[in-house]
């Protein structure tokens, strides 16, 4: 996929943090939220459950619950209010073996 949605305007001198999103290795910076880190490389966080469109967060203050993404090991997290940590394995959708996910 091409360039991400967000643009860094300041605070670029921070240590890099590696993570994966949908299996691809990406890099954010220390202090990035999960939302910031993903959207610097991607246009969206996930697909909407109830429509054809993609979603990329909305309120960024933990109130709208638009920015939930999946972790490979199970629990979902709210991308706007979760700090990125080294080695996170994130997904835009549940893994295929997740209960209730259509094959």
């Amino acid at each position: 996929m091409s360039a991400g949605r967000l643009v860094r305007l300041a605070e670029t001198a921070r240590a890099p943090v590696g993570f994966t999103f949908d299996g691809e290795a990406l890099t954010g910076l220390e202090g990035d939220t999960v939302l910031t880190a993903i959207l610097l490389s991607r246009r969206a966080l996930r697909d909407a459950e109830f429509g054809p469109e993609a979603r990329a967060g909305f309120c960024l203050m933990g109130a709208c619950q638009d920015c939930w993404v999946w972790q490979e090991d199970g629990p979902r997290l709210r991308a706007c209010s979760t700090p990125l940590t080294e080695g996170m394995r994130l997904r835009s959708a549940a893994t295929a073996d997740w209960p209730g996910v259509p094959a």
Partner: protein, 455 residues
Amino acid sequence: MTRVLIVGSGPAGIRAAETLAAAGLRPVVVDEGARAGGQIYRRPPAGFTRPAEKLYGSEASKARALHDVFDRLVAAGQVSHLPNRSVIALRDGVAHVLGDTLEKIRYDRLVLATGATDRLAPVPGWEVGGVYSLGAAQIALKAQGVALGRKIVLAGSGPLLTLLATQLMAAGAEVAAVLDTAPIRTQLRGGLHMALARPLVTLRGLRMRAALGRRYHAGVTLDRIDSDESGPTALLWRDARGEARRTACDTVALGWHLRADGMLADLAGARFDWSPAFAQWLPRADPLGRAGDGVYLAGDGLRILGADGAELAGRAAAIACLQDLGLPSPDPATVLRRLRRMQRFAEAMACAFPWPVEHIRHLPDAAVVCRCEGISAGDLRATLPVSGPEANRVKSMARVGMGRCQGRYCQLAGAEIVAAASGTAPAQVGRLRAQPPARPAPIGSLLAAGDREAE
């Protein structure tokens, strides 16, 4: 010692904590943020280097003062700070607090300083990724140093519209247009009274507005957001003369001032009244913020007065709490006088930048009203013959207000659509009852809940 629980560590929560600590109490402060400051004075994560002047502009000294006061109180052990936690339920003097685990915190007195969210009106096409609230764009800039896109259109109305445009441009973002739905005539009428109440603040707003130049348009009508698979491509709008315009962009941020977040106040037993001035439901409280037995409200969650008003309201709520406990407390006369001035300013501002009632009432059937579950204005209207025009019944049957945001971003617009279709007014449509949990909570946390006493 009396256990006082404060929810929120923005300007109101911090001043409430300071006032209570000065009287010898040791309040517990729960907040969703990692660091105290709230949204307006939100602090970036550790390791970020921009100074307060860069982050908060003319309000830098106020921000720094609040952060310092709170950090000192915590360091001195006068306040117990529980960050990264959400209060999800309140019952019988127990707050259910969700962090990594669910804790139960007992309290004798409760100060709610839960603030506000952006107040949103739907614009057809707003459900796509790449449309944000104005507050989101400001948080991204302040707390992360990022712009939410390469070419941004800001639309809506209220003080944040102009302020955010100025901040984004100063930081080097491209702002393609600033589209204000408030007509010049209401802005002039409200602006006069704003200037009478707070001349300097009003003047500062006018200066910022002037600096936007031809990007800024008043009295616009927002028609729709066009998009492709990667997000928004343009905002289609009409200018004050009715001429159709199109502004290319890859990001849209929307907002119409603020909506008080009254969910915890409701769970704590507060009553609510429809405020014609602010076009929303606001909790009922006395001038100091007493909203019930041992329940005190402060800040934008009570009255939308902005950050300066929130500091005063935090002090006022703490004074009320101290009075009720029979403890020595500061004289509230000055605080109350200043609050009345803030109230005059805020009401004038609400009049200058009104909620776009006509836009909402005339939304096309295809427009999504509930972003959480993709429910359209047509779906909502079609429910009315069965549900009748009552907010909670409409929610049960049409699911507008049932999704993950719990009605925070659709309730007011939904009520306006219901009112228009039923020949009534939003005040008669009623208010959605708050339902715990106030934030989504994993089942596992509920099963493993422990106990914790507020000290």
